[in-house]
């Protein structure tokens, strides 16, 4: 099995060949900040040019109204033209610099966050809906980094333009300079208030939006079940209530920005009137008076973007806080020594089984579940059954080395004898176990790459065989592009059942001796669920008769698929090695197909 980097294209195929690989330019964080500040300066020049354009146009017109010799207007005309050209040019430059810096910073932030997420995966990502938690991280990172373009640049730009305006007006007429300075101070104050209001209302808005997502997902995915029991009208009302919540939270959230947008204009009006009053008594030429009166109005263009910037800032800070909180967690497992190459354990030992003895564990230090005893022998199929909350997932997490137990032993039996799994390097312990969870991910890459990530050296023959064992042989045969078919976002969609089978095929291909399935069929309808599990478990009974199921219920031979014997043998690996299976479930599907059922009882309340 090769571990050379060239054999690890994994999931990047969809983006190959866009540009030639170039040496990376890994800028440091301070480097990004410096370039964002530069962008702010450039934006300031662009904004100031806009202000100057309006003011000097007024000057030009007022001067022309005095009917001078045309030549004397040339200075004004040149100034207007210069500012007219400077504004778009500097804006263009600012955008290039700010977006480039922000994207570079996003790249750095993403890889850092990704690296930080690895030791927290999966145990610290919540017990269910981990994909949603991870999606939120991606969006939060984008929000956080985009703040540079949407917050820092406009704020710096406005500050620069304001400072320039204060400077010029002060030189021409100090009292007007004072008025402009007061405008800037008021804007800072209003923005601060708006920011505070945005921040304080944001929590409720995020919660209300999350509630809408929860309810609409529930109502959408369970529409038939709700209609079946006549609860559709009630469910529609849940959605209405959630929508009302969002409407309320939005009304509260918009207050800050609406207040800012209105107040900014009032400040501009007051400043214009004050400047007009001051200008009448000034000992300056008429064109300069026109310039001064128009300056506060022109500044409005520099001020109004701040309302949006304050909202973006509040959002970005909340996003940054969420990400920081998630990434600050301690891993749920401690690694004993440095990591070994991932595939070290799997092939080198003769797996005979694992045993958990007196194991108690907890996700968060309290509410320990257990103690459990569970042994699984090579090639054996065990179902772990029990109600939600009884500790099935905890048991699984210990078994998969996602979670350190609080107490108890975890041993592996090999041909060479038994040893303690908990003192093994993490990578070695995990390399024994292929986990299939309840939300199997399909990468946006070819079908082949989706499987070979479990075993990079695998041949097409291995891949096809793994797919066949998982019951996907017919699907693959029907694909025009075969193993090259692109799956995932933008590619061929897979049904829930096909996704579960794909994850099982991955586990088969990995060749790992123990397969742990965590509610693999939880989201599937009962017939699909049964057929997925039958394809996973049925061959074992037909080809390797271990006697009757110990499942106490009378089983029904008619349920599930009843494939012919020849087909069954085909699904078993030619070397005869089958993984041991631990099936964690709260549904009874497939229980008649396992060797043993291990029931986790509900903890005493």
């Amino acid at each position: 099995m090769t571990t050379s980097p060239t054999a690890a294209p994994d999931v990047r195929v969809g983006v190959e060949g866009l540009t030639k690989p170039q040496p990376l330019r890994p800028g440091s964080a301070s480097d990004h900040r410096g370039r964002i500040a530069l962008a702010g300066m450039l934006g300031g020049v662009a904004t100031a040019s806009g202000v100057a354009l309006t003011a000097t146009s007024g000057w030009l017109i007022a001067r022309a109204a005095e009917r001078p010799i045309i030549l004397t207007l040339m200075t004004a005309i040149v100034a207007v033209r210069t500012f007219g050209i400077a504004r778009p040019v500097f804006r263009y430059w600012e955008r290039l610099v700010s977006h480039d810096a922000s994207l570079a910073s996003l790249a750095a932030r993403r890889s850092a966050a990704y690296e930080a997420l690895i030791p927290l995966t999966p145990a610290r990502l919540g017990r269910r809906r981990r994909a949603d938690v991870l999606t939120a991280v991606v969006h939060d990172l984008t929000d956080e980094v985009e703040a540079q373009v949407r917050v820092t640049v406009p704020v710096v730009s406005s500050a620069v333009a304001g400072a320039i305006a204060i400077g010029f007006t002060t030189v021409i007429a100090p009292p007007v300079g004072l008025v402009v300075a007061l405008v800037c101070a008021s804007v800072v104050l209003v923005s601060a208030v708006a920011h505070r209001m945005e921040t304080s209302s944001l929590g409720a808005l995020v919660a209300a939006r999350a509630e809408v997502v929860r309810v609409s997902e529930l109502v959408t995915s369970q529409a038939d079940e709700l209609r079946a029991i006549g609860a559709w009208a009630t469910a529609a009302r849940w959605l209405d209530d959630a929508h009302d919540g969002v409407a309320r939270a939005t009304r509260a959230a918009v207050r800050g920005r609406a207040l800012a947008a209105g107040t900014y204009l009032l400040v501009v009006a007051a400043a214009t009137i004050a400047t007009a009053a001051i200008a009448t008594g000034l000992e300056v030429s008429n064109p300069v008076k026109a310039l001064l009166v128009l300056t506060p109005v022109a500044l409005a263009d520099a001020i109004t973007p701040l309302a949006d910037a304050m909202r973006a800032r509040a959002q970005a800070r909340a996003a940054a806080a969420r990400t920081a909180k998630l990434l600050a967690q301690d891993p749920a497992v401690r690694d004993v020594r440095g990591s070994l190459p991932a595939d070290a354990g799997a092939g080198s030992e003769q797996f005979r089984g694992v045993r958990l003895t007196d194991v108690a564990a907890a996700w968060d230090g309290s509410n320990a579940l257990g103690p459990f005893d569970l042994g699984v022998g090579a090639g054996e199929a065990v179902a772990v059954l029990g109600p939600n909350g009884s500790g099935k997932s905890t048991l699984l997490a210990v078994l998969a080395r996602h979670l350190d137990p609080l107490s108890g032993r975890y041993d592996v039996h090999t041909a060479a004898g038994s040893h303690d799994v908990l003192t093994e390097p993490l990578a070695e312990a995990r390399a024994r176990i292929a986990v299939v969870d309840d939300e199997p991910h399909v990468f946006a890459t070819s079908l082949r790459n989706n499987l070979t990530l479990a075993r990079p050296g695998a041949t097409d023959e291995d891949v096809l065989q793994a797919l066949d064992r998982a019951g996907l042989g017919r699907l693959v045969a029907g694909l025009p592009d075969g193993l090259d078919t692109i799956l995932g976002a933008g590619g061929r969609g897979l049904s829930g059942g096909e996704r579960a089978r794909l994850a099982i095929a991955r586990a088969h291909l990995s060749g790992r001796p123990l397969m742990v399935l965590d509610e693999p069929v939880a989201h599937l309808d009962p017939p699909t669920a049964r057929s997925v599990l039958a394809d996973l478990l049925a061959p074992r009974r037909d080809t390797d008769d271990r006697g009757a199921s110990t499942y106490p219920h009378d089983s029904d031979a008619g349920q599930g698929t009843a494939p012919g014997a020849g087909e069954d043998t085909a699904r078993v690996a030619p070397d005869g090695r089958r993984p041991a299976v631990v099936l964690v479930t709260h549904r009874p599907d497939g229980l008649d197909l396992v060797d043993r059922v291990f029931t986790v009882t509900h903890p005493h309340r």
Binding site: R12, G58, Y114, E225, A236, A247, N286, G389, A434
Partner: protein, 556 residues
């Protein structure tokens, strides 16, 4: 993509008011902006001519107060419009699916109803207001200019069309490469989401560590590719802005020249140079906002498309036959055929079935169409052909729905508007009937104990019995039960079977089961056989052979 899709107003009537409000505020803002230019010119003229400034200043102040109020209102109404439109779309979708409209697969449906509808929010809250301004302000500005100073208006009218033309030319020249780049960008920016969502899988197979370098590399490539695209976008918007500036400069220069020749007064000249830019900037801004709201526009397109399909289909189908209002006394199926989609082999074919009273048991091998038959009778699926009538039903599916909430709330779910006796005594009676009273009584908070999503904290068998207790409480005259004892141990199954027999005394009960116990006590028994493949001879047995307490084998 169209700037505004009028289908929105037709398909989602709830979106009409917010859009109308946005339009009204947009027009008011446009008018006030024009008026402000006059007031500002008045103030400047007063200052320059050394005349009293108070009167024009008062006008200016008043207009700015109006503009401040409008700016405040724009934010409030825009936010309201964003929420109302996205909410209305989501509600329309969910209701359409709830009333039997064809639903895409679960993942697509959920993403359309959650992220899709939410993506429309910025489109309605930010893009639509800008669109209104862009439609109103330039027209008003040019019209006013025509009155105040027609030569300036002429210059603007001559140059404004250059903007979209110029934009189109730039767009056309770069369309090909932009298209290609967007596709590449989508794949690059999707990569991070993909590997992050797949992180548990990558960690599982020890592949996560290597991805750090890949993430860095792809993010860098994303940066370079984005910048290539953005450079063109920024360049074209800079070019447009330059064009607008040059046009305003032409206005300013001609105005200046006429001023210096004395053929024009200062006031109109100031109005002209203040109004001329107003004719240009909304057009440029709408382009920027559209870029920002493009995701929303795409989502809007998808949702309206889905709604259009469903509404069309429902109109074609007419009122559903198994309506809850029609008091049918018995279940009556005539020549009912059902297939999942046109062109697929039917799951149920030419089935005739009459159930008038008592316990009716349906058996058959897996996949033979038993559940589909119950779905049809419950009205969850509409027959592809044939006629079906049935009284209102309560249907206990194989995975009965249990909400996050108290046991009491779950037992009375859906009954709150039908005034079913919901007293606790009644609920206890129901729990006793399914043998769950002991378990619930043992819980610390009894009926008020909360259970989680999908029945957290209850075993599969307990959830099943809770669902049966709910069925016991339900007022509907027809009960449909799909494998009611599948999750139960033999003792509990026996109790539930007895309960089912008792229930059949006062209502019609149709049970799908694979257990023999119920078949023995059934009033009628239907055994479904697999449909023969096309070309096979038609089956001989039909429902006409059915007699009480007899077993018959038919193909559905």
């Amino acid at each position: 993509m169209r700037p505004f899709d009028p289908r929105l107003l037709r398909v989602v009537p709830a979106a009409r008011r917010p859009v109308a409000a946005l339009a009204a505020i947009g027009i008011a803002t446009g008018v006030t902006t024009i008026a402000t230019a006059f007031a500002l010119a008045g103030v400047v003229v007063a200052v320059v001519d050394d005349r009293p400034v108070a009167a024009p200043a008062l006008w200016l102040g008043a207009l700015f107060v109006v503009r401040a109020v409008l700016a405040w209102a724009t934010e409030v109404v825009a936010a309201w419009a964003g929420v109302s439109v996205s909410t209305a779309l989501r509600t329309a979708l969910v209701r359409a699916w709830g009333s039997g409209g064809a639903r895409p697969d679960r993942t697509t449906a959920v993403s359309l109803a959650t992220a899709g509808a939410s993506a429309v929010e910025p489109y309605a809250a930010r893009y639509l207001p800008t669109l209104v301004t862009a439609a109103v302000v330039p027209v008003l500005a040019v019209a006013t200019l025509a009155v105040v100073d027609w030569p300036s208006a002429l210059i603007v009218v001559a140059t404004v069309p250059l903007l979209p033309l110029f934009a189109a030319l730039i767009g056309h020249a770069t369309a090909d490469s932009t298209q290609r780049r967007w596709a590449a960008l989508a794949s690059l920016s999707g990569h991070f989401l993909d590997v992050v969502r797949g992180l548990p899988t990558l960690v599982n197979y020890g592949r996560a560590g290597r991805q750090v370098e890949v993430v860095r590399e792809v993010s860098e490539r994303h940066r370079r590719a984005t910048m290539e695209t953005l450079r063109i976008a920024f360049l074209s918007s800079a070019a447009l802005e330059l064009l607008a500036t040059i046009s305003v400069a032409i206005v300013a220069v001609t105005v200046g020249l006429r001023l210096s020749y004395g053929s024009m007064a200062l006031g109109p000249a100031l109005v002209a140079i203040l109004l001329a830019p107003e004719a240009y900037w909304p057009i440029r801004r709408v382009g920027q906002e559209f870029h920002a709201a493009a995701d929303g526009a795409t989502a809007l397109d998808d949702i309206i498309g889905a709604l259009d399909d469903i509404i069309g289909a429902l109109e074609r189908a007419g009122a559903p036959a198994a309506g809850a209002d029609a008091p049918f006394a018995r279940v009556d199926l005539r020549d009912v055929t059902y297939s999942y989609a046109a062109g697929l082999a039917p799951v149920v074919r030419d089935l005739d079935l009459v159930v008038g009273s008592g316990l009716y048991v349906i058996t058959g091998t897996s996949g033979v169409g038993k559940t589909t038959l119950l779905d049809l009778v419950a009205g969850l699926k509409v027959p592809t052909s044939g006629a079906l009538t049935a009284p209102p039903s309560h249907y206990v599916t194989q995975r009965p729905f249990l909400a996050a909430g108290s046991i009491r709330a779950n037992l009375t779910l859906g009954h709150d508007d039908r005034r079913v006796p919901g007293s606790d005594d009644h609920l206890w009676q129901a729990l006793r009937a399914v043998g769950l009273d002991g378990v619930v009584a043992g819980l610390p908070e009894g009926l008020s104990t909360r259970i989680g999503d999908d029945g957290f904290g209850l075993s599969a068998g307990q959830r099943q019995r809770l669902a049966l207790a709910r069925a016991w409480l339900a007022p509907e005259p027809l009960l449909l039960l799909d494998e009611p004892t599948a999750h139960l141990d033999p003792d509990a199954a026996e109790a539930v079977n007895a309960l089912i027999v008792a229930l059949a005394h006062r209502r019609i009960v149709i049970v799908v089961t694979h257990r023999p116990e119920l078949v023995a006590v059934a009033d009628e028994h239907l055994h479904l056989l697999p449909l023969p493949d096309a070309g096979d001879p038609a089956p001989t047995a039909t429902h006409h052979d059915l007699v009480p307490a007899a077993t018959h084998e038919v193909t559905p």
